[in-house]
């Protein structure tokens, strides 16, 4: 029993719910004054700061565990911090803080801020609980809650399009979650316990003779939980739902929430069913095929998509399936690579969506071709964008290179026949496509070519002093390129993305330790 674990879960939920309560009480939804907004930001940062500090403290101070109460025979609501949960909690916390910082400025023009922050805080608590979950049923509970609580972020602006997207998200996730529950029914019967243990808890004696049905169950869990990770065939919600959310929300949805699907898959496959059970079965091969298909398809769709945020969403579909492919290979190296890519992709995709948010916030630009010449207006943002893109493509010495290296290495060693070489090939092709859909924006941004120049060039040559002064003052009025609250998260994320590649040691060793434990 360790009640300390409960605090970072309950605290943000409680204070988030409080905020929601007040937001519903307000009669007018018009944004309040400056002071009120400052107070709101202070409140959110205080709650989030304390929760994050407590969550990290709880995560990094030993294997804490807590049995809350028993749901039914042998299945308690049970929290247990282990190495994997620790990694995920850290990533979630980091992204959450940075994206909140960005939202403080960005959400001004979206309105209904209290509701946003209310759900944002609750969602943090739910995700911490998801990462700390110690058995399948607890995880299922918080997985469903993740869906329910993140849905309001998607439908934030209340348009019909947003509501429909949110419903689509809800149904895909719920269908998927039922796939997961389906596997729980069977695993409950054929395993020693539903508690997570590295290497699996399957009861070999009980499972004897029921392998066929168990494989189907595990496959249902893969496809089902894969829905949240945007894996084919349940991927269609992702490019609809992520772009309609406000940018900071898309950043956390794409950066972190999709990873809850990954986490669930890892828990089912590596912590309950066990790798030995799946090695070489049809489930593994189908899983690999689906993952590779998704990688390729996502990249292709992203390549021909012109709406910037939608392009990023397709890119998420593709990149998260890198992780899925890494997991499906069932080798330690690929597993390490997958975990690394979890970190890298969270950092990068959060950063990219935030840059998209910058464009929307400052200029109202949503389409890729509108971004020509933008590097002149906001060079710092564009540099961050460039670094993040390079990381996602996987060019050394960035973080993406390291994770993809591990993935390719793992694939080559896996001994899965055709997949051991097909995998790296698809990854390479997809990397090229990634370069093809991300880098032109940076190129056009910095070197827009002659047709953009007329409209964008600042009147530097001063012919008439009056006009020049006016232009100068109007530029002053716009202020610096970005307020620090928006710029800092971008810079931090870009720096992290590169840092992960220059000094991959600590993280990759940590991931490798998890990998040795589960194999």
């Amino acid at each position: 029993m360790d009640a300390f674990l409960l605090i970072p879960i309950v605290l943000p939920m409680f204070f988030g719910a409080l905020l929601l309560f007040f937001s519903f009480r307000e009669k007018n939804t018009a944004p309040g004054g400056r002071r009120e907004r400052a107070r709101l930001c202070l409140y959110v940062s205080a709650v989030l700061g304390i929760s994050v500090a407590l969550a990290l403290a709880a995560a990094w101070s030993g294997d804490r565990e807590l049995v809350l109460f028993t749901l039914f025979e042998g299945v308690p609501v049970y929290f247990h911090v282990d190495a994997l949960g620790r990694l995920f909690v850290t990533v979630v916390s980091l992204i959450w803080v940075l994206s909140a910082l960005f939202a403080f400025v960005y959400m001004k023009h979206e309105g209904k801020e209290k509701r946003y922050y209310g759900f944002y805080l609750i969602l943090y608590g739910v995700l911490v609980a998801l990462d700390f979950s110690g058995n399948l049923v607890t995880m299922y509970l918080f997985y469903e809650l993740t869906t329910l609580v993140s849905m309001p972020l998607v439908l934030h602006n209340g348009t019909r399009e947003a509501v429909m997207a949110a419903l689509k998200y809800l149904f895909y996730s719920m269908c998927g979650a039922y796939g997961g529950l389906f596997s729980v029914f069977f695993l409950y019967r054929y395993s020693d316990s539903l508690n997570f243990a590295p290497g699996g808890t399957l009861n070999q004696a009980a499972a004897q003779g029921h392998e066929g049905i168990l494989l189907i169950a595990v496959f249902a869990a893969l496809v089902g939980f894969g829905a949240k990770a945007g894996m084919v065939p349940l991927h269609a919600w992702l490019p609809t739902a992520h772009p309609v959310a406000p940018s900071p929300a898309s950043a956390v949805l794409s950066g972190v929430i999709v990873k809850s699907g990954v986490l669930a898959v890892v828990r089912v496959v590596f912590y309950v069913a066990g790798t030995d059970f799946l090695q070489g079965t049809w489930v593994q091969y189908v899983w690999m095929t689906l993952a590779l298909l998704t990688v390729f398809m996502g990249s292709m769709l992203a390549y021909r998509e012109q709406i910037f945020k939608k392009r990023l969403a397709y890119s998420t579909v593709s990149q998260v399936s890198y992780i899925m492919f890494g997991l499906s290979l069932l080798t330690p190296d690929a597993f390490t690579g997958a975990l690394l890519h979890v970190v890298v992709h969270a950092v990068v995709k959060c950063g990219l969506f935030l840059t998209a948010g910058v464009f929307v916030y400052r200029f109202g630009y949503t389409r890729a071709e509108e971004l020509g010449g933008i590097g002149k207006k906001m060079p710092k943002t564009m540099w961050c964008y460039l670094l993040l893109s390079l990381t996602l493509v996987g060019i050394p010495p960035t973080g993406g290179f390291v994770s993809k290296w591990y993935l390719a290495e793992g694939a080559l060693q896996s001994g899965t026949g055709v997949f051991s070489w097909l995998g790296p090939v698809v990854l390479l092709v997809s990397a090229l496509l990634t370069a093809g859909y991300l880098l032109p924006i940076a190129m056009k941004g910095f070197f827009p070519g002659s047709e953009h120049l007329q409209g964008l060039e600042e009147p530097h040559g001063i012919e008439e002093p009056g006009e020049g002064a006016q232009a100068h003052s109007s530029r002053k009025a716009l202020g610096p390129e970005l307020s620090p609250a928006m710029l800092v998260p971008l810079v931090v994320l870009a720096a992290l993305a590169v840092w992960l590649g220059v000094f991959p040691g600590p993280v990759s060793e940590y991931a490798a330790r998890i990998a040795t434990a589960v194999f």
Partner: protein, 499 residues
């Protein structure tokens, strides 16, 4: 014999005679008497439950100390006492939640008649639960039907007359089939007392005599009770009856009345015919198939509905399907899951009906989807309650719906033929439930468009009785969801006592 052992008989008698008493009282006093009777019966059942748990065995109570063929018997075990207790609690909450609706929708001069009906209904439910005599069961089935009809049409609109007429026709044909079945059984075995019939049936089954008559009797009784509890092809009376009657009626009808019949059917299966005979017959398979079809079709109809109360009513069709699916599995685990779902659905459906009326209050007494937009913001408690009920229906862990779903699946896993149909039906039905309940939840939390009329804010203290009922029902749901272990053990022990 301990004094407590008289309580089941006394509670039946109390509720039976308080019915006619209410007819000469004024509406206000009838209400008080009714509340008092429900509370007293509930407390008595709790004492009985405590007594049976402590002694660890069931007992048979002979009325007037006349032995079986002449006298009438009551049999009390853990399951019976627990169900009685639960039914009283839910009925009290339903009555509490619908006070204002009753005052508005029922004529001043007929207020007391409503309580006559409720008391008789309670009496018949208790009798169905406790009785050890098949013919007594039939008598109380009829009393149940008639009082339920009264509950439906006391609102006195054209819709409710029609609904009551439909209910009457369907329900009486059900009773007719049940009676026929009982007659067959009596003709074959020569007994009306459950335990005697069972001995005889077991003997007949072993020797293989009268096989056809037995099967016909079993089939007739199953179909009859299935009609009365709105199993899928016989559900057509249900949406009107639940959708248009006054709030406490629809809540009581959906969460208790249909469950009383199901409980009787379980009793017939286990105590009258004997489980092994039922198992060999094909009747359970038929129930299983129709249960599954009902799960799907009920949800599909609910999706098409654009009226909140009727949507909830259709969802009852689906939930009844769940219970029959559990029965159809014909294993102990399946029946225990079904019994758990009786509790879970009873608590959830009452909650949803009361919450829906709260949402309607905040939308100018309309329950059309177009009008309830934003109702969850105008009436927060009702909104929260509806959310809780929906999550339970969808099957979020911590709510009762998840537990029963899990038990159904556990009962099915490893079952030779019925594993896949069950699990797939559960999957489909979960998703369909999510479709219509989440759609509604989103709607009630979407702020109403500017310029819409009829909506008004409703505070928690405006209708304290309804608020209290909602809070209690939410708690009941959470207790069933969070604390299922002892309850299930109770059901299991009670079920073992059945033999």
């Amino acid at each position: 014999m301990a004094f407590v052992q008289n309580f089941p008989f006394l509670s039946i008698l109390l509720s039976l005679f308080s019915g006619p008493l209410c007819s000469i009282l004024s509406g206000k006093w009838a209400k008080r008497v009714n509340t008092g009777v429900i509370v007293t019966t509930g407390v008595m059942s709790a004492f009985v439950l405590q007594h049976v748990i402590s002694t660890g065995q069931s007992y048979v109570y002979q009325m007037g100390h006349f032995p079986a063929p002449w006298g009438n018997e009551i049999r009390v075990g853990i399951l019976e006492a627990f169900m009685a207790c639960f039914f009283c609690a839910v009925m009290l909450l339903c009555m509490l939640g619908g006070i204002r609706e009753r005052e508005e929708q029922i004529q001043e001069s007929k207020q007391n008649l409503y309580y006559v009906m409720v008391n008789l209904l309670l009496c018949s439910l208790l009798a169905l639960i406790y009785t050890n005599d098949l013919f007594t069961a039939y008598v109380f089935v009829e009393i149940n039907t008639i009082s339920a009809c009264g509950l439906i049409m006391i609102r006195q609109t054209g819709r409710t007359y029609e609904a009551a007429a439909r209910y009457m026709i369907m329900s009486l044909s059900g009773s007719g089939l049940l009676l026929l079945g009982i007659c067959y059984l009596y003709a074959v075995t020569g007994h009306l007392l459950m335990s005697n019939i069972r001995e005889q049936v077991q003997f007949l089954a072993q020797t293989g005599q009268h096989h056809l008559s037995l099967m016909v009797a079993l089939g007739l009784m199953s179909v009859g009770l299935a009609m009365k509890s709105a199993l899928y092809p016989f559900h057509t009376w249900l949406p009107d009856a639940y959708g248009y009657s006054t709030l406490s009626s629809s809540a009581i009808l959906s969460s208790l009345v249909s469950k009383g019949y199901i409980f009787l059917l379980i009793k017939i299966f286990c105590r009258v015919v004997g489980f092994n005979v039922v198992n060999e017959s094909k009747v359970v398979n038929v129930l299983f198939v129709f249960g599954i079809i009902g799960m799907i079709m009920g949800s599909l109809s609910a999706i098409k509905e654009n009226n909140l109360t009727r949507m909830i009513a259709y969802s009852s069709v689906a939930q009844i399907g769940y219970i029959y699916m559990g029965l159809g599995l014909a294993t102990e685990a399946g029946i225990v899951a079904g019994l758990y779902h009786v509790l879970s659905h009873g608590a959830t459906k009452a909650l949803l009906f009361v919450a829906a009326s709260g949402l309607g209050d905040a939308s100018g007494n309309s329950d059309r989807f177009a009008d309830i937009t934003g109702a969850g913001l105008r009436n927060k408690l009702a909104g929260t309650a509806f959310l809780a009920g929906s999550l339970s229906m969808v099957g979020l862990p911590m709510f009762s719906g998840f537990i029963s779903k899990f038990f159904f699946a556990q009962a099915a896993v490893g079952h030779a033929h019925k594993m896949f149909p069950t699990v797939i039906a559960l999957a489909l039905s979960t998703i369909l439930n999510a479709v219509y309940f989440m759609k509604t939840v989103i709607r009630i939390y979407t702020p109403a468009p500017e310029g819409s009329v009829g909506g008004r804010q409703i505070g928690v203290w405006e209708q304290p009785a309804k608020s209290a009922a909602l809070v209690c029902l939410i708690l009941l749901n959470l207790i069933l969801g969070l604390n299922s272990d002892p309850i299930v053990r109770l059901i299991q022990r009670g079920f073992e006592m059945f033999d």
